[in-house]
Chain length 596, copies 2
């Protein structure tokens, strides 16, 4: 198994050559005051943690899994030590508010930290990612007193957090949840119910676990408007704020899953557990959704990270494995299989997606930072629209391409990919959940076409479409591009742009009268937008080759070829997606349920 | 978890309504003398075995796996009993030659047996499938004396067989194998070497295991021309032909795999083991390849079977699971998720592929039977060409669509698909190997474009292209089709036909001067041919609706809608595949190996 190596050079290229991040943060007067050198030092340090501390316990964690014992859930060997180092390094505080001990780092950098964490050990990353989610929710919606109590230990990493949403009969449709909250005489509530699929619901990494639980008050309106959010700690706090008496929260069982086996996915029972209302009653779902963009982007990035891990192993293997003759410049054979065109096709598919996805994640991180910090109201509004519009694309497109990539990375190894020792099959199993949780990719597609396109009347889309057109133009205006077939390259880009615009225009018009159309074509539309987004990133990458400090001449050629592969072999799918969208809902809706 | 139900009605539709199999077999004077009723009785009985005996030990087999003990490899609980019933029912003899105790059933039916076996329990099926392969090889290449000794117990199922090809450094490239054979003073040989990934290499199901081992004689030419095939039994036979003294063959380890965990995949050590030469020396690879079509088709069918199993669970779940409101005719919600267009899209993708793949597998089985039995030399040649041309397509296209289907089937269940209890994640893991073994799908694509298209100078392709055109014409000439948009439907079909013809013509011309072109576009070409093949099957299905005995009015509508979905939402990819093929090898071959 190859060791995970953080793609630092490539990350610096994206941050500085492509997006001139130092200037960007200075313009925003970002409080973290980062310069180029410091950005690089941070990702380098994160890379070291991931390669040297987290990656080494990734496969053993999968083999061993979590175990539910009399004393609670025990994580695999080495996880406690790794978590200790994670906390020592101050990583839990990375993106949190400085007011409560956080480092307040920009999202632009956080996406790269997330990528490396997921690449090296997704199961581990989930414990910390859910804590970030809880911190985020409390920062935005809890009272000052509540924040002062709960945030500092979460941000230090002494405690961890969860989000308790799903119940056995309520997944996508949270309006159906049954967990009940009743008020005690003091400010607290009694929580009763059972939640499933709770990531990090119980484990041995920290001193306390802070559950954010969605539940209904007795007088709550039906459905999604009657859901409130509660803090339910595993251990109640004593008068000095330290974990003391056990709360009546327990892990009823661990789920047995396809992958992410070192992540404790729990059935959680709340039996007259003590909880505290966060913010106002009946606003719970709104609070959860307000942090959804954050979580969905993070899960999208799981797709990028695991894909990169799989690519590293596959590329190393392909260079070392000798089989058969190369079709060009054979030594007489056996030659390395990396010289076989079909193997190259798989590696290039992976790399051209992964690198462009990384660029787009950083770019989306910039939009998040801009939407929070800029003084310019128009820019703020535009950045917010882009975050809303592209977050479901990031979540679904990154994880679909991540799953495809990990499967290709396994395929490159042939039979050796299917057995456990090379780690490739674990990537396939670990990445697969990312297409499902935090809202299935089908739900992302519905969110995109429903809320973010139709309800928005195409406003967010217009900003995106203009960005895409500008990106193509920037590439067109770049001097000295060594493209093999320049005309073809740009005509494909312009055709995809035309497809995008005509398709969306048609949808804005047609969906009004055709209630099943949006759902029937949602996944196609999301893929079309994802393809154009990544194609636009390759245009920006080409544009930055003129000024690159980080890339060698050889690497500049590599980016050019990756861009060509992506446009000539991948983006061309826009034609088919258009045809599928235009074919509409007819064959999809025609059959009775029992014939489906 | 849904119980597996053999799709008997659909199978009868394919056999009788579509392909009038009784007449077909009568015309061939097939010795099995099957009529319609008997065909149906056979698949019904096979379906019973699969549902009631094999499916019940599928998930427990996965959980338990095989274990290597002091006494050899132990299969999971229930496997011995299931195998006993399999033997009692005479199933090992199904397709074998009557001369040695076989039932000599046509391949046309065998493909359906294979589908049901793989659907219900792929791990179990592999023990029997490898035995069939060994029987097939011996029937064709062993001496009469050898056949008399080894075939009857294999065909009875008392003994099982393996194929020992792969070594750690020699997978795709069997020319590199190092296992040695040296002649003893009698007719036997001493075999020395280590083989890996040996399916059924060691287990407790039968009384003896007959290994067919590829090895080199001391004077053998280098590479693939110096490989001979040997029988190496686990137990040597006594003078009455019964297993007696242990041979020095041992299982060194079991591979730990992503799936098919109840199938014993072994590292096999041959230490001065006694073996017997099959046929002539240095012809081993040719012998192996002569049975490759058979094995590859069977593995392709693993994709169909597991996909159907996954579909059955997904469709049942979607009809039962209540979440959110349906966009059309909602009861007020929550409604069954089968009414969500995006869920329907996934189910229809699966069903429209699975049913057409089944039709095509039966059709390919007919070509196999015809190539073996017809007296008409031209028909024999044409059928043989079709078998050669389409077998790599069947293997790769069925398993790619099988993997995609199982992933969609899992996605329909959301989080419930990712946990083990529903069985959907097992299907994903079990089907994944089928894209790898018996030659990776990339190797199938190379075989198709290299041997079956270019070396054949397009002759096999011409037969296929004519078949496709005829199939479209038959559908066009069918009266009373209730297509929603007839013009669009047939124009898409005709466009795909034009794409197919122009693309292949271009390749026949270009590949000569461009050594890396074939490998660069092989996978695209295979997918294009697979899409057209299945589209042609839908045309034949539509054509048979006029005369169907097996389908209700509702089911006739179902087939029409499935055909529309396949043509309007799937076949349209032909455009993109053409563009990708025409983009050629440039971006694929441009980079140095270290930049890949």
């Amino acid at each position: 198994m190859s060791e995970y190596k953080a793609p630092l050079n490539n990350m610096s290229f994206v941050l500085h050559d492509m997006f001139q991040i130092e200037q960007f943060l200075t313009d925003l007067a970002h409080p973290a005051e980062l310069d180029e050198e410091l950005c690089n030092a941070i990702i380098e340090e994160a890379g070291r943690l991931c390669s040297q501390v987290l990656a080494p316990v990734n496969r053993s964690g999968d083999e061993q899994g979590c175990v539910l014992t009399d004393k609670g859930v025990v994580t695999p060997d080495g996880f406690k030590e790794a978590y200790h180092q994670f906390v020592e390094g101050g990583w839990p505080a990375f993106n949190a508010s400085p007011e409560y001990g956080g480092q307040g780092m920009p999202k632009t950098l956080h996406v790269l930290l997330d990528e490396m964490l997921h690449a090296s050990n997704s199961s581990f990353c989930l414990y910390t990612s859910l804590t970030s989610g809880a911190v985020h929710a409390l920062e935005h919606h809890a009272s000052e007193a509540m924040k002062a109590t709960w945030l500092p230990p979460l941000i230090e990493g002494r405690w961890t957090g969860t989000m308790c949403l799903t119940e056995s009969h309520a997944g996508t449709d949270l309006g159906l949840i049954k967990t009940r909250a009743t008020k005690n005489d003091d400010d607290s509530y009694l929580i009763n119910g059972t939640k499933i699929f709770i990531t990090g619901g119980e484990h041995d990494l920290g001193e306390n676990i802070i559950h954010l639980v969605l539940a209904r008050l007795p007088d709550a309106p039906k459905g999604v408007k009657g859901i409130s959010m509660f803090i339910v700690p595993r251990f109640l706090l004593d008068s000095s704020g330290n974990p003391a008496e056990a709360n009546s929260v327990s892990c009823g069982a661990l789920e047995h899953k396809m992958g992410i086996k070192a992540s404790a996915t729990c059935v959680m029972n709340f039996d007259d557990a003590t909880g505290y209302l966060v913010g106002e009653k009946n606003q719970g779902l709104k609070y959860m959704f307000s942090m959804m963009n954050n979580e969905r982007l993070s899960i999208g990035i799981q797709g990028i990270g695991l894909a990169d891990s799989s690519l590293q192993t596959a590329a190393d293997y392909a260079r070392e494995r000798l089989q058969s003759r190369a079709p060009v410049a054979s030594t007489g054979g056996p030659d390395p299989i990396v010289e076989q065109p079909d193997v190259r096709r798989m590696l290039l598919w992976m790399r051209s997606h992964i690198e462009a996805a990384r660029m787009s994640a950083v770019w989306l991180g910039m939009q998040v930072d801009k939407s929070e910090l800029t003084d310019d109201n128009e820019q703020k509004a535009q950045a917010s629209k882009m975050v809303a519009f592209l977050t479901p694309v990031a979540k679904a497109f990154y994880t679909d391409m991540g799953s495809m990539s990990c499967n290709l990375g396994m395929q490159v190894l042939g039979g050796h990919g299917y057995i456990r020792e090379w780690g490739q099959e674990q990537h396939v199993r670990d990445v697969r959940i990312a297409q499902i949780y935090e809202g299935t990719n089908g739900i992302q597609a519905m969110d995109l076409i429903g809320r973010k396109l139709l309800m928005d009347k195409g406003e967010g889309f217009q900003i995106f479409a203009k960005w895409y057109s500008d990106a193509i133009r920037k590439a067109e205006n770049t001097g000295k591009l060594s493209l093999a077939n320049r005309d073809n390259f740009f005509s494909t880009l312009r055709e995809s742009q035309a497809t995008l615009n005509t398709t969306v225009e048609w949808l804005l018009e047609q969906c009004q009268q055709r209630p099943a159309l949006a759902g029937s074509v949602a996944t196609d539309l999301l893929e079309l937008i994802g393809l154009c987004w990544l194609a636009g990133m390759w245009c920006l990458a080409l544009n930055s080759l003129e000024r690159t400090k980080y890339l060698s001449e050889q690497q500049r050629q590599q980016k050019t070829v990756l861009a060509e592969f992506f446009i000539n072999k991948v983006l061309i799918k826009h034609q088919t997606l258009k045809a599928s969208i235009m074919a509409g809902e007819q064959s999809i809706m025609a059959l009775d349920d029992e014939l489906m």
